[in-house]
Structure formats: structure tokens, C-alpha cells
Symmetry: C2
Subunit: 212 residues, 2 copies
DNA sequence: GACTTAACTTAACAACGTTAAGTAACGGAG
DNA sequence: CTCCGTTACTTAACGTTGTTAAGTTAAGTC
């Protein structure tokens, strides 16, 4: 462990310092307050210094996304303990909406903003349910299909995952984008979440669904 | 009709000229290309001239939203002819997703971007199903409830409207934000739309739902 | 015909992302 | 020890952005 390793370590340290500063600004004042100059102020470097560690602002935000995405997926693994796949699906749905509600800025950046060139150097572990929320949900649906808990014609686990994802995404993203809109007499988000998830589970199961 | 009226009319003309220029830029090159200067170029005025007709850029965009929102709602009225409320609901769902798919920029601005101060001078005709898509969907659900087509415990038409809106919004907004993300093996949007709507209708109706 | 006001233009400001050019410190080679 | 090149920065600047202050011109009013 010569000076070579030390430099490497220091480099990594300042990288995470930049990311942390961005994240803080981001969570406390919203995306539009995350400017290179304000990040630089926080870490007491010049704005240009950031470019030595990240190609540009987009790359910085993309990495922030990736990191938080992984953490996001990780908190789902606790739900893997739920035995019944449909109950597990319900729990994931609620956890998803809850995450979005507690981290509006993050959610907005991750799922509501078309990234210019997505997945350019995303080093996420695709397919691994520990780090990939999509794969986690899909595995639930594969299990539910195998256990014949779903209607017979529903066989495409990917399609089901995408539609159920759409369902919970719709609830939370509409909340984030339109909560302050007095145009609509919004029902509490908890009620909307519950009905949406109930509706979806009832919509894909066969015959008499168990009342929750 | 003296010069007073003429001036008023001219004022209105340039207002719509500004809005049209913004809309064109917007639809052809995306939101980020809509700058005050480029709008000004198009209409051959100085950028400052715009401020005489709109308080700021946000107000301009808000008015553009309002206008297109109204037109959006208007195209639903054609579906009022469908007799069966559940079939009408399905048709509205598909029309909604279709609109978003054909007008990505508009949809993004209208429903995916938290407006700073929403509904500040929105002069939309609230409650009028001719101009208010929300009211149109709600009226369908009121009808469905009255006809006892929905499960007995579903009595809150507003809650139902909001959740169904979330469902279709989820499909199209995820498409807009994440279509270019190769992370997921996306199924065609038409399939996702169909399943989402089927799932929702099945999820709120009682017992055996008619197969489409 | 003087005066007010509406409808602009020109010039500028501050903040933004980003880059070019310069500088100081460090690690290894001769 | 000295030279040298790389690494990690800073300062200054460029081109854009939204927005405003100050000046100008034309039309309508009394």
C-alpha cells in the first residue's frame, strides 16, 4: 500500500464528497438548486474541480441515480420474507409508493426525468434481485404464475411487471407532479395507494381474491 | 367598434402568435429548446417584447398547458356516445394513453412537471365535462356506481377517478421517461395499455366481467 | 398641438454549464 | 539532488439562459 493506493483512495473520497454535496442540495432544495457552483461551494473547491471527477453534470446526476437506485432496491429485500407471493407483491407496491413519497426529488430524478442517454455506464447488477427492483418484482410474478395464482391467460411475467410498475408509478408520480394542484380534490395518498394496489391484485388474480 | 377594440384584438393576436411559436418549438425540439430568445426570433420581435404579454416564462408555459389541456379534454367528448359506462371508461383510457404517446412534450409539461405555483390564473372550466377531462371520467364512474356495475364497497367516485387516472398516467409517463432505457425489455406500449386497462376494469367490477 | 400611454427595442445583469490556460505539488528516473 | 511529467487543482473566460432598466416611437386623448 504505497502512495499509489493512497491517491486512489483520496480520489474516491472527493468523488463521494461531491456526490454527497449534490445529494444534500438536491434533497433539501430540489433539483433546480443543484448547480455545479453550489456543489463547489459546499465542498470548498472551485466549480471546475468537479469536472476532474465527473465528465459533466449529467454524468454526476446519473451516478447519483445509480447509487440511490441500488439502495432503493436493497430495502425491498426485507420483504422477501413474506411467504405468500401476492401479499409480497402488495407489500412491495406500498414500499415503492412510500419511497417516492419520502424522497420526492430522488424519485423525480430517477423515474420522471427522461435522461439524455440512459444506461451509458450504469454498472447496476441487472437481474440480481438484491440490487434490481425490477427483477425482484418479476420474480414474485414468476412465482405467482407457477403457483397458478393468476388468471390463466396471464403468462408474461415481464409484461405483468411493467404494468404493475406503471400502476404504482402512476400513483406516486401524479402525487409528486400534481399534489399542489388544487384543481382536483385529492384523496389522501394512502387511500389512493391502497385502492390502486387492491385493484391491480384483484385484476390479475382468478375468481375470488382473498380480502385483505 | 373603435380603435379601442382594434388594439385589444391586435394584442390578442400577438399573444397567440407567441403561444403558437412556443408550441411549435416545443413540439418539434422539446421543452429545453423553448427559450425566450428563440420564441422571439420566430415571431420577429425582441425577447423583451414577450414580457409585455406574459409575466414570465412560467406563465407562458402555464397558459400553453391550459390551452392544450382544454383541447385534450375536448377530444374525449366524442367518446360520450358509447353507451356502456365500462366500455366508455376503457375507451377513455386508451385515448388518454394515445394522446400522451403522440404528444410527448405536451404530456410531459402538463402532467410530469411540478409547476411552481399551479392554478394561479387557470381559467379552465372546472367541472364541465366538455372542458375538464377529470370531470368526464368522474361522471362515468358516478354512472357506473349508480348502475351497480362496480363492487359494492367502491362508492367514492373521486377516489376511483384519481386511481384510474394514476393507472393510465403510469403507463404513458413511464413510457415517456424510460422508453429509451434498455435496462428493461419493454413490451410494446399497446400491450401494456391494454393489460393495464383490463386489469383496472376487472379490479373494480363485481364478479364476472365481460371479456373484451 | 401638447401630453399620456401602450408597445416595443437596445443594452445590460446575474447565474448557469463548460472549457482553456495556468500553477503548485508530488512521485519516480537519471 | 535534480529534472520532468503527471495529477489535482484555480482563475478567467465564453456562450446561453431568464429577466430588467432605460430609452424610443407611434397612436390616441384632451
Amino acid at each position: 500500500m504505497g502512495p499509489r493506493e493512497r491517491r486512489e483512495r483520496e480520489r474516491e473520497e472527493i468523488r463521494t464528497k461531491i456526490l454527497d454535496a449534490a445529494r444534500e442540495l438536491f434533497a433539501s432544495e430540489g433539483v433546480e438548486s443543484v448547480t455545479m457552483r453550489r456543489i463547489a461551494d459546499r465542498i470548498e473547491y472551485s466549480p471546475t474541480a468537479i469536472y476532474f471527477h465527473f465528465r459533466d453534470k449529467d454524468a454526476l446526476l446519473a451516478e447519483l441515480c445509480d447509487h440511490d437506485f441500488r439502495e432503493f432496491a436493497h430495502q425491498f429485500t426485507a420483504l422477501a420474507a413474506i411467504a405468500d407471493p401476492l401479499e409480497r407483491l402488495r407489500a412491495v407496491g406500498h414500499a415503492y409508493i412510500d419511497f417516492g413519497f419520502r424522497n420526492r426529488s430522488h424519485y423525480r430524478l430517477m423515474f420522471m426525468t427522461p435522461r439524455a442517454n440512459a444506461s451509458r455506464d450504469s454498472q447496476l447488477a441487472k437481474g440480481n434481485p438484491e440490487e434490481d427492483a425490477y427483477a425482484f418484482v418479476k420474480s414474485i410474478l414468476v412465482e405467482a404464475i407457477a403457483a397458478k395464482r393468476l388468471r390463466a391467460e396471464l403468462t408474461d411475467a415481464d409484461l405483468l411487471t411493467q404494468v404493475i410498475w406503471s400502476g404504482v408509478h402512476g400513483v406516486i408520480s401524479l402525487e409528486i407532479a400534481k399534489a399542489s394542484d388544487e384543481w382536483v380534490e385529492w384523496r389522501p395518498i394512502a387511500e389512493r395507494a391502497k385502492l390502486a394496489i387492491d385493484m391491480m391484485v384483484r385484476g390479475i388474480t382468478c375468481g375470488v381474491a382473498k380480502e385483505q
